[in-house]
Amino acid sequence: MARSLLFPEFKIERDKERCIACQVCVRQCANDVHEGSDTEDTVVSQEEKCVGCQRCVNLCPTNALTVQTRKDGFRPNGNWEDRHLRGIYKQAETGGILLTGMGCDRLYPVYWDHLLLNASQVTNPSIDPLREPIELTTYLGKKEEKLDIHWEGDSPVVRTRLAPQLGLEVPVIFSAMSYGSISYNAFRSLAEAAREAGTFCNSGEGGLHPDFYPFGENIIVQVASGRFGVHRDYLRVAAAVEIKIGQGAKPGIGGHLPGEKVSKEISRTRKIPLESDAISPAPHHDIYSIEDLERLVFAIKEAINYEKPVAVKIAAVHNVAAIASGVVRAGADIVTIDGIRGGTGAAPQVIRDNVGIPIELALAQVDERLRLEGIRHHSSLLIAGGIRSSADVIKAIALGADAVYVGTAALVGLGCHLCQKCYTGKCNWGIATQDPVLTKRLNPNIGRRRLVNLLRAWAFEIKEMLGGMGVNAIESLRGNREHLRAVGLSREECSVLGVKAAGEGW
């Protein structure tokens, strides 16, 4: 085969003085970048295979390795960026769709970074979370418009039965990541952390391995277009069921787990033959309209005896507010909206980077639309796609979200370095792989602890910010855009976000 026109993306520097040729890097790299010698005390590296995951750098006992983005020597061109050339070379060589993993990495505006929070001064005392309780407890699910109260003398008799709710101690849920796209140990870390932190994780559309049934009270199971692993017990064991219509990283298209990843355990979990491709169609073939969605929502509610909330997940697309309104009217107790920066295990790069809209704009519009229609209380709003810190969480809640999903942030907590090669199955961090040599690198006990720490740290930070605003219950911030101000945004963007410009008072 002719030599590839692609340059290596990374430059590996090995400090010869420091390298002791211990070959840790050789053993750690699933991409076979480093090669040791049986006869000589040297290790050589093939840069073209490197994905920049930093595993070898992290584990090198003498800090002899540096892996840096290599500066391409292409002649500078304002129109033809390096990525365009690389894409064309790759496609000219392979004739295929360019694949990628994780969320959109293009430089679209990140609106979280243009929103600033408020704090109390003089007229309103701030609250110290170390001295006073500050509540983050959140309930997701349909809320009645009014409580039907009957008075017997002075005693109230409540005639309204609350719709089923998901109770969260911290308004952050681990996003849908299937066993298959991530490893058993990664899934176990998420499930155990969700239980310990008083929140939930989402099964994704990969079914639920029997080992995780005991975690059912903290798991939201997904019903997606492939219906993998969906059966009665799967629906009944979970705390809630989510119908996945779309995903922010790849709105409008389905998914594909290649047969080589369908191991014995995954075949058992997904209820598909060993080593067969698991293909999720682009649409649900029993949902071609909003009324079809309503039938599936209620079919699931029947199956779970109306005892648990049913969520519907859609990708943030141009007409998202109207679509969300339809979803609410179709009976969803929770509407999940996933923005363009939402992650994925595998997606065509052209879709990931060009389809959909940022979650901030979608959230602001959906919340406002549901309120204008007087149906905001019919469903809770869960949002996903690019939540990076506690600041993003609190801004999302002030914009109108009930809680947020985190996927990428959780994986980063487990060691992910965002190399975007999840689709190769060679994750050196043991997260997005099924290779037993790699998966055992992630210890679920350590993984659990790291995730619980992360949520705990974010909860502390959220409480500090809430207290600063003089608010001691998260519901008083939810949809309270008076506590947000925009910097560096156009008038149109402010108006879409429903937020005033920084400097404007009340």
């Binding site: 609350l162 003089g470 608010v471 911030l477 506590h483």
Partner: protein, 366 residues
């Protein structure tokens, strides 16, 4: 004219309720609020009085403030659509040393012509229509046998301007305002009134943004950009429309913490859980103490962690609420009982419940 901004303010509040229904003039409440002169800054003061129009007790008494008297025709056209104006007059005002200029105040006594089961809703609709639609006119109060008198100035001067010593009421509520920027508009003063509710409020509601959006769901338009307006509408929604009784308002406005609710016994636990889950948008967060007047009664309440002061007192058949003890002692030097309201507590009294006499404390939120 109308201030486009929401103005945070510190304040003095005071209220008197005669539990035996005896009518007294406004002189006492003016003395009481005047003691707390330092809690206001001359940019707003006002009073609500109950029982002052016995001859028109069956009719809605509308107090309307006209910045632009030419809008009176438009306002009256709206009122006449569903009501008959039985009587109208300018509210008499008398120049005082400190107030030489004031807008036109008129009062209308209205008989509603439509179906009786929707007359309150219709009145609310009219108030919303005038207050958000007609620039230059503003309905200050819209209840029966009650009225709100308010303006820019120290409360004692406002009281003298409206000659409140000439009125006889069984319940009086007063407010002295300390806004943190220039108010400049008479309609922005307190009390805030809707139907027969009148609310005076000391504090700042940090949850304002969501409370306002929550109320939109139910057709309430907040056009005044004041926290007090939001509180008034929430009281109206919860008590009149949602059948929540006053002693339980604390469970919504200043809800107990989830930890406290967990420890409650059934059926109280279920009630409080349901209230908090469903009415999260009505939770008032931030510092406040409020006095709310309603036909035949008055209640006081403070926020969930008690960031603003409020005291309740009883002397013979009179019930007092105030920001400071001195304001009560000024008009009743010796008291039978004096308590400071606890966080989230509602203390409510009604005419005719004299036997309570300070013993029957309605406690919620704890």
């Amino acid at each position: 004219m109308r201030d486009p901004f929401r103005i945070p303010s510190g304040c003095a509040v005071s209220g008197i309720l005669n539990l035996d229904g005896t009518h007294v003039s406004g002189e006492k409440i003016i003395r009481s609020i005047e003691v707390m002169h330092e809690r206001s800054n001359g940019l707003g003061g006002g009073f609500a009085a109950y029982g002052i129009y016995p001859e028109y007790a069956e009719l809605y008494a509308f107090h309307v403030l006209y910045d632009d008297p030419l809008t009176a025709k438009d306002v009256e056209a709206i009122l006449k659509r569903s009501c008959t104006i039985e009587h109208s007059e300018e509210i008499p005002c008398k120049e005082t040393e400190n107030i030489q200029n004031w807008p036109v105040f008129k009062r209308y006594f209205l008989r509603y012509r439509g179906r009786s089961d929707c007359e309150d809703d219709e009145v609310v609709r009219m108030v919303m229509e005038v207050n958000s639609g007609i620039h230059g006119a503003y309905i200050v109060s819209s209840g029966k046998n009650m009225g709100v008198f308010k303006g820019v100035g120290y409360p004692e001067d406002i009281g003298k301007l409206f000659q409140l010593e000439e009125y006889q009421g069984y319940c009086w509520i007063a407010h002295g305002r300390f806004p943190t920027n220039s108010a400049g508009w008479w309609g922005g003063a307190h009390p805030f009134g809707l139907l027969s509710w009148s609310v005076v409020h000391n504090g700042e509601i940090s949850s304002y943004g969501i409370n306002r959006r929550y109320l939109q769901n139910f057709g309430y338009v907040c056009n005044l950009q004041t926290d007090t307006e939001v509180i008034t509408y929430l009281v109206d929604l919860l008590v009149r429309k949602h059948n929540i009784r006053i002693p339980y308002l604390g469970a919504v406005f200043a809800s107990p913490f989830w930890e406290q609710i967990e420890k409650m016994e059934e059926p109280k636990k279920e009630f409080f859980t349901s209230l908090r889950t469903i009415y999260g948008g009505a939770l008032l967060n931030g510092p406040f103490s409020i006095i709310v007047g309603f036909p035949g009664g008055m209640f006081g309440m403070v926020d969930r962690i008690k960031l603003r002061p409020m005291l309740a007192a009883w002397k013979d058949s009179t019930f007092f609420l105030s920001s400071e003890e001195c304001a009560i002692r000024e008009i009743a030097p010796s008291l039978d009982r004096l308590v400071a309201l606890r966080a989230g507590e509602v203390i409510s009294e009604r005419v005719g419940e004299r036997n309570s006499h300070g013993q029957k404390l309605t406690v919620s939120g704890v």
